[in-house]
Amino acid sequence: MRKALILVLVVAMLIGGGVVSARQEKSITFWHIQNTGDGPMLIQQAVDRYMADNPDVNVEVVPMQNDPYKTRIRTAMGAGDAPCIFLSWGGGPLYEYVKADQVLDLTDYMNADDYKDHFVPASLSNVTFDGKIYGVPVENTSVAVIFYNKAIFADLGLEPPTTWDELLAVSQTLIDNGISPFSLANKTKWTSSMYYMYLVDRIAGPEVFASAANRTGGSFEDPAFVQAGQMIQDLVEMGAFNEGFNGLDYDTGQGRMLIYAGQAAMELMGSWEIGNFLSENPDFYAEDLGIIPFPAVEGGAGDPTDVVGTVGDNYYSISPTCEYPDEAFALLQYVIDDESVAARIESGRVPPVKGVSEMIEEPMLKQIVEIVENAASVQLWYDQYLPPELGEVHKDTMQALFGLEITPEEAAQQQEAAVAEYFGE
């Protein structure tokens, strides 16, 4: 009996501890996925500054994992319980939320004092629908580039490839020396999509995807998609990727581990990876890391300066259920004010604001800015351009394609069939 009493007391104490929490007048929840490297700190600093200036507002910041977030936000919206501030990548999924009245129209806020002129114009296109702006670009300019280990390349006397044939030759040499050319963690699926998007673009230019996805006369069975699939499977068959890539999780860093361990020489990844390298392994970053644009494909119709990615990667939007939209927008302005911009550059990012190229000294970031500024077009990630249901189909197809379970033709057919069905053809 006494034991039971003690147990009750202990539990009561544990419960009691949780109940006591300070109540403030206004509260704002803020979901983000900047959970690697300096990410959480960058947001928290801005939030702390905001709260210091606005003591009546309490901001609850919730960092999340990238992939689970996508499910979480929809579940929460469905429950009418969306956070005040949430993120998106713009494009198809955000537009779905807009259509379901889950996103506040920010046009007036953005126009006030010409606030929107702070941003690189390209950054706003992904969040502008029917002439209205629904998101604030904040985090980064994220384009996919090839990261490579300069030390390995130097040891083996290799030059960074600028064409696909050179890339194949470099890969062969690496394989002969027992090193995986590319590190890929593809349980996450969108990681492999980058190769496909780039190859399609290099082979046929950006229009082929746009016309297939928007149903303006194109098709996912276009020869460009099949050829891209074939080139990928050739790469897989020659052993250009680490063993077991389809079982590794990018979100938990299983891809970068191979790079750090010197077991893989290259990684095709969004430029946010700079921040991860910088914070996780500064020595490696300073001494051995290099970046190159995705190589040109011989005879391809696409412009080799084209990039895949997004300017303004992570956009923050405000939900209409937010009780304090004015405060929420003001908070977002802190998150991308001059101090925050400087902090982001410091931690290896390229915030999507005008004049950022003059502020950047870090050579690798400068390189990213140059690549983006010179790009003839910026292709948004397919899985973010497409509506979620089709994004899942695309990602599943990519995993099967890389796993050599379906032929390039089948990959093309499956995607075409899903898109055609979605649009009710």
Binding site: M64, T75, A76, A79, T252, G253, Y260
Partner: protein, 276 residues
């Protein structure tokens, strides 16, 4: 004779050691790696002792984040759920075990059928229901599903247990004029204590480790119970395997300690439903 016995024992111990490695090695790997530095795993032997054992990971988990909030959430929801389960199931079991009425067997059969229903098929409606009543993303959203899905087994076991209790005392009480409710409170409940204790352990362990409902019904870290939180830690400690493994070690520790102290009780509790 003696040499044969010795040989016998040697063989037994050898086989025993093989399985000891199979069942113990993952735990060794988990606890040991938690003492390693972030990049130590990349170079050198994974089984090796940490080069410079560091408490950084364990310390960071315990002090840096909300580890204790998660533990608190888990303790709270498990405690309340198990309490409710015990109360509700003992009441139902009493009726099923002792009161004859026309619906007794059919109702009991329905409850037993609940044993085989996989929780996953109710996820969508339970999610929709939870958000409709405004409990979405609250720790209390878990209470309903937690109680409901553990009732069938609890009722089944308690009913069997109560049927095994001799009737003499009840009859004596009845002659003294006690009604069914008093008989239940004064006689059946105290006599069912061993059964209730077993069930308390069984349900506590099950719910302490529950993941699916928490995964679907809760988002905010401040409301998460431990199993969901350790899944989320993977994102928070991306790339830091030793830190993640130290989270796992710490999350498994309470149960392992309780088990080592009260082995027989815990065993009996966890085998509830299979062992009588």
């Amino acid at each position: 004779m003696n040499t044969r016995k010795l040989a016998n024992n040697t063989v037994l111990i050898a086989i025993g050691l093989v399985w000891l490695v199979v069942s113990g090695a993952p735990f060794y790997f988990m606890a040991m790696t938690g003492f390693k530095e972030r990049f130590e795993l990349f170079s050198g032997d994974v089984f090796a002792f940490p080069q410079n054992p560091t408490f950084t990971n364990y310390k960071e988990v315990l002090t840096g984040g909300s580890f204790f909030t998660y533990v608190q959430n888990s303790v709270l929801i498990v405690f309340v759920s198990v309490g409710l389960i015990l109360v509700i199931s003992s009441m139902a079991a009493y009726v099923f075990a002792r009161m004859k009425f026309i619906l007794n067997r059919p109702l009991f059969g329905l409850v037993i059928a609940g044993l085989v229903i996989p929780v996953h098929i109710t996820l969508i409606p339970v999610y929709l229901f939870t958000r409709d009543i405004g409990l979405y993303d609250s720790l209390w959203a878990l209470l309903g599903p937690y109680v409901a899905f553990n009732l069938p087994l609890s009722i089944f076991i308690l009913t069997e247990f109560m049927r095994g209790i001799p009737r003499e005392m009840e009859e004596a009480a009845y002659i003294d004029g006690a009604g069914p409710i008093r008989t239940f409170l004064r006689i059946m409940l105290p006599l069912s204590m061993p059964g209730l204790a077993t069930l308390a352990i069984y349900n506590s362990v099950t719910l302490w480790n529950e993941f699916v409902f928490a995964f679907v019904l809760i988002t905010s870290p401040k409301n998460q119970p431990l199993p969901l939180a350790i899944w989320e830690y993977q994102g928070q400690y991306s790339m830091n395997i030793p830190a993640i493994l130290s989270v796992l070690t710490l999350s498994a520790l309470p149960l392992v300690l309780i088990y080592i102290v009260g082995q027989e009780k815990v065993l009996r509790g966890m085998m509830a439903g299979a062992l009588k």
